[in-house]
């Protein structure tokens, strides 16, 4: 075994043939995505989701066959489940992004490379979003089974993809913010799941939220509930895409505010000590 550590036999990094101008965030996103899927974490979450989705699709199909559930409602239910679970797994993965690397001792090696903190965050957010895209990909055949006979397949898929992506970007960013601020990875993940449950709970009330000014505000202030309400209004109530567009203001604002906070505080969030002031 040779232990003579001579410099590698390559030209200087300034050489065009040697230097790759690929952005740091692309490299981080590639690596994080590979880690997420090759480690089995992503596949396990996806497998659990597909079991859940299969069960729900079977039940809604049965109910629909017995005329207990209108077909459009079946599609809506499956799509809502996909958005909710897709966002949940995106949130869980992003909540592990910074605090998890701190605990595993892998963050410092990344911090001493020339890649900016913002690029690290962007790469991690994109990798987390692949969970949502994979979740949605799994949902497509289920939606096809339920929606093909009522002619809303294209609409349902486009709607689910666009709204789900918007919510996933917003809550994925929130997950990374929580991860940067939390002392431990466990705290970060639990806090993120708790946040999603709080946001998701109103949509699971048997008769939905009560009607009225206060509850309307509550619905519209909740990015998950309002996004799901928007999907329902288009798919079940047959509204046009622009009619209840106001319901997407909160998901959009969440994405803009949380994403903006990541951009602004990124340099102070991605570090060895949690919080934005320490270190």
């Amino acid at each position: 075994m040779t232990l003579q550590v001579a410099p590698p036999d390559v030209t200087t990094p300034q050489d065009e043939a040697v230097v790759d101008r690929q952005s740091g965030w692309v490299l981080v996103a590639e690596q994080e995505t590979r880690d997420l899927w090759t480690s089995g974490r992503g596949l396990i979450l996806l497998f659990l989701f597909s079991i859940l989705l299969s069960g729900v699709t079977y039940l809604t199909s049965t109910n629909q066959a017995l005329n207990f559930l209108e077909q459009r409602e079946s599609v809506n239910l499956v799509l809502q489940l996909a958005v909710a679970v897709g966002v949940l797994v995106t949130l869980v993965v992003s909540a592990d992004g910074i605090s998890g690397e701190r605990e595993r001792g892998t963050l410092e090696s990344l911090l001493v490379t020339p890649v900016s903190r913002r690029s690290i965050i962007a790469g991690k957010l994109i990798a987390a979003l692949t969970m949502w895209f994979a979740t949605f990909g799994i949902t497509i055949p289920y939606v096809w089974v339920l929606a093909r006979d009522v002619g809303i397949l294209g609409q349902a898929l486009a709607l689910g993809f666009l709204v789900g992506t918007l919510v996933a970007i917003g809550l994925g960013s929130v997950g990374l913010l929580i991860s940067g601020l939390c002392n431990s990875n466990k705290t970060s993940i639990v806090a993120s799941i708790f946040l999603l449950l709080i946001l998701f709970a109103p949509t699971q009330l048997p008769s939905g939220l009560p009607q009225g000014g206060f509850f309307d505000v509550l619905l519209r202030a909740n990015p998950v509930a309002s996004a799901l309400a928007y999907i329902s209004s288009v798919l079940v109530e047959g509204q046009s895409w622009t009619e209840d567009l106001v319901l997407l203001i909160t998901p959009l604002l969440t994405a803009i505010i949380a994403g903006g906070a990541l951009v602004l505080a990124g340099e102070r969030l991605v570090k060895l000590t949690p919080g934005v002031n320490a270190g």
Partner: protein, 323 residues
Amino acid sequence: MTSMTVEAVRLTKHYGDRSAVEDVSFTASRGEIVGLLGPNGAGKTTTIRLLTTVLSPTSGEFSIAGHPSTASAEIRRSVGVLPESSGYPAHQTGGEYLRFFARLYGLSRGVARTVAAELLAAVGLDDRAESLISSYSRGMRQRLGIARSLVNDPVVVFLDEPTLGLDPAGQAQVLEIIRGIAKNRDATVVLSTHLLPEVEQVCSKVVILNHGRVIVSGSVGEVISTALIKQSAQLRVPLDRVERARNVLAGFPDLTVDQLMEQPDVLTLAMDRPRAGSGSGSSDLMNAALAAITAAGIPVLRFELEGARLSDAFLKVTSEAVA
């Protein structure tokens, strides 16, 4: 480029009221191995994190490879770092891991592959390049970490406890790699470790920290000298020449000479007043005494220097700082 690659001037880091590092100043040049020593919590890791821009100093300045502390991106391009207790992604192979880091430094895919292969070979991991890191032993992971710290051909390499938890063979391998980095790459190595005998062997300069402050710095000889370690020696001569040897040594007023009761042919030589400032003061005196004995035609059966090791100096200066 100037040969000075590390220059820290009154570097200070506070966490609220607590001071982690206070007025730390030192310099290092190309090809030099600097030992950053100190008890646990002395501020070694914080100093390395400040110099590698992972932490921001509360006050003070530093430059790395000629780049001021404000040019953090340039500094990161110029340094290689093995952090203390560095973690590794279990699901990557050693080759993938190095290629990823090489690409973060802007190397193209092909060059990153070449660099990774060469570095893995250099640290003796070429036959495990495509094995998962989770299957590596601790020593292999440390060597992989050192290889990673070299992917950008750095001017300065910071190694924080690279031998922590390794068996003696693993420690020797890592120290051999460190020597190679300084010698073959002409890089500066800043080495934080607790292995004082090894530091004595490989380091050209030593900085001892305690409670965040530099207690003493300089060459190993200078540090020992500054610590005012009392150096002594044992001299064994034929029993019938003991008296003559004592007479010769009487010509050295700074030496106290005693005869061992249990071994009457052995004389102990001790410096009365250790000399500060001149790194080789005590050694010079002992050498002169030995030369005088041989010049007088007295056969020397044994001569052993005692009490002037870096570990002695380390314990003395750090315990004095506590007191």
